[in-house]
Symmetry: C2
Subunit: 171 residues, 2 copies
């Protein structure tokens, strides 16, 4: 059994952690998930997922495109968007609507779920929460409104613990 991913209880990764493990773990899990569904986890898709997992901050489609490019190879936008579509469909990445950007799913063990994101405006690091109480409150609001809930976007912006304390120490 693989060790759990490096992260504090608060969902934000420690400032210094073995990030290679985060990436390797995500790719492994993705591979397993795709195999189970006989979905093709192709080289391109793996590469894009790797690029996305390169950091814990959401990354834009055109940044991915740039990372994918080299002297010999210069893919066009649809290449990236199609890979993203696949990865999103299988719950391997989430789209951050308020940033037009994409981030790797941090809860691959939880089948199809709507993410709740805590995004630091200073360092960009983004934690994915899966808060029961929050989910329940959303579900209740929907019920109360006679609304049949299908999808949800919950994106919270502010300062992560690390940047908050940095700020405090500064002026």
């Amino acid at each position: 059994m693989a060790k759990p991913p490096a992260s504090n209880q608060n969902g934000f990764p420690p400032a210094r952690h073995d990030h290679a493990r985060c990436v390797a773990r995500a790719l492994e899990q993705a591979e397993g998930i795709c195999a189970k569904r006989s979905a093709q986890f192709t080289g391109l898709r793996r590469q894009v997922l790797g690029i996305i997992w390169n950091s814990h901050s959401p990354i834009g489609a055109y940044e991915i495109l740039a990372a994918l490019s080299s002297r010999e190879r210069r893919p066009a936008p649809p290449t990236v968007y199609r890979a993203l579509e696949f990865l999103q469909a299988h719950g391997l990445v989430h789209r951050i609507e308020s940033k037009n950007a994409y981030i790797g799913c941090a809860h691959l063990e939880t089948a199809q779920h709507a993410g709740q994101f805590l995004m630091c405006r200073a360092c960009g690091q983004t934690a994915e929460a899966c808060d029961k109480d929050l989910s329940r409150a959303i579900q209740k609001l929907a019920e109360k409104s006679g609304f049949s809930l299908e999808e949800q976007t919950v994106e919270l912006s502010g300062l992560c613990p690390a940047c908050k304390s940095k700020n405090r120490h500064a002026a």
Copy 2:
């Protein structure tokens, strides 16, 4: 004292309601709010707000631009985006991130607040909620994570009560 805006308890406007009253009320309140802050509620800004309030569905910037255009007058995008910027800054409209679109604020009496939106995927109608329990759950999640919350995006998509019952009768 003006009558409250037409709406069911669930936040969605009744299928048939005196929509002219919604618009008039929004414009009046906006006028008051701007006056209080000595912000200029110019003709253009009033016109854009009126276009946005023309329906209870979010509207895109370029749709607003089209509505603003005529044979004699054909404004450029910045005209609309600047008006939107002003209206957002004063809490008169909200941006719906997941749709790149804008909707009139339905809670002008509540000073600067983050909206919670219930968006019908069938008819587009969007209700703005201000759910205490949901807000509390979000705040709690932030605290638990040591996160200093500044802004939030909560956008729920699904079927509104009316479309839900229509769907049930069909099929």
